[in-house]
Symmetry: C2
Subunit: 184 residues, 2 copies
Amino acid sequence: MKVSVFIATSLDGFIARPDGSLDWLPGSEDGEGGAEGEDHGWTAFWDSVDCLILGRKSFEKVLELAPGAWPYEGTRVIVLSSTRTTVPEALTGKIELRAPDPAALVEELRAEGHKRLYVDGGATIQAFLHRGLITDMTITLIPVLIGEGIPLFGPLAEDIPLKHIKSESFPSGLVQLLYEISRQ
Amino acid sequence: MKVSVFIATSLDGFIARPDGSLDWLPGSEDGEGGAEGEDHGWTAFWDSVDCLILGRKSFEKVLELAPGAWPYEGTRVIVLSSTRTTVPEALTGKIELRAPDPAALVEELRAEGHKRLYVDGGATIQAFLHRGLITDMTITLIPVLIGEGIPLFGPLAEDIPLKHIKSESFPSGLVQLLYEISRQ
């Protein structure tokens, strides 16, 4: 089973501004664009995912960005939160709310026959990385420095060696990197 | 005149461990190797440089790593320091010690006809970037996460948009990115 990250960062390693804002992403409402029409492998990746594990803040960002819509229809979604206990009524039955226990969750989903988990959200990705649970990361580098924000990576107990699988650059200036991580 | 950065970072954006250690770099004495024999464009880059601007800590790291040797023979070297007032006797005449004033220094070197400055050292790179003085950055991503250390990038007064020029990956797993920065 793959446990995957698929995310965009500024060249200085941020996934969002300090307030969660994504206006620096090309193609965002406020952004400069230039990457429209480029798929960056998202469709193929998403088609391979059978369970999305989403951090609470990212979940709330999705609700904020697309109120009333639910972009993950048809895919199992598990939201991890230590604090939140309810979900919006419209999403009842569409998401599962769980307290974070990354290792146990990965084992459970493996036993249930899942093939590829997609882990999203800054703190959530860090928690899974820290526990050696991530098997591959697709990182799309946006050609901008934003100076501060929510970092993709954080402190680790020990170095994590990566295996570079491929890189691809796009006409818009985005560079996409794929790394695999061997289980320690 | 180009004002260039040419540096390696871990995928999580560090140029050294907190204590300045570089043991995670492939080919370092303590490192795992795997990139030996790959030049990564260093020779061509260095041949294009007519002045190296080095931060004080990086200068001292060079002295520590290669005691008695001076790897920059034949190229003008300016060491920036707010605190250091003397240089080792063996280096008298080989380096110029200056108080940091990036913008004035760049103008002075431009007026003197320099073609390409190479800015090195974490705090020094950040100071030049912050003032909009860097024209291009070659960043070699090492396939490892080290969790903490001295970051390449730091806070900025405003976003710095970059122009992606090219990317190249090497058999060892290193990925080299070249970005240009337009003068604001």
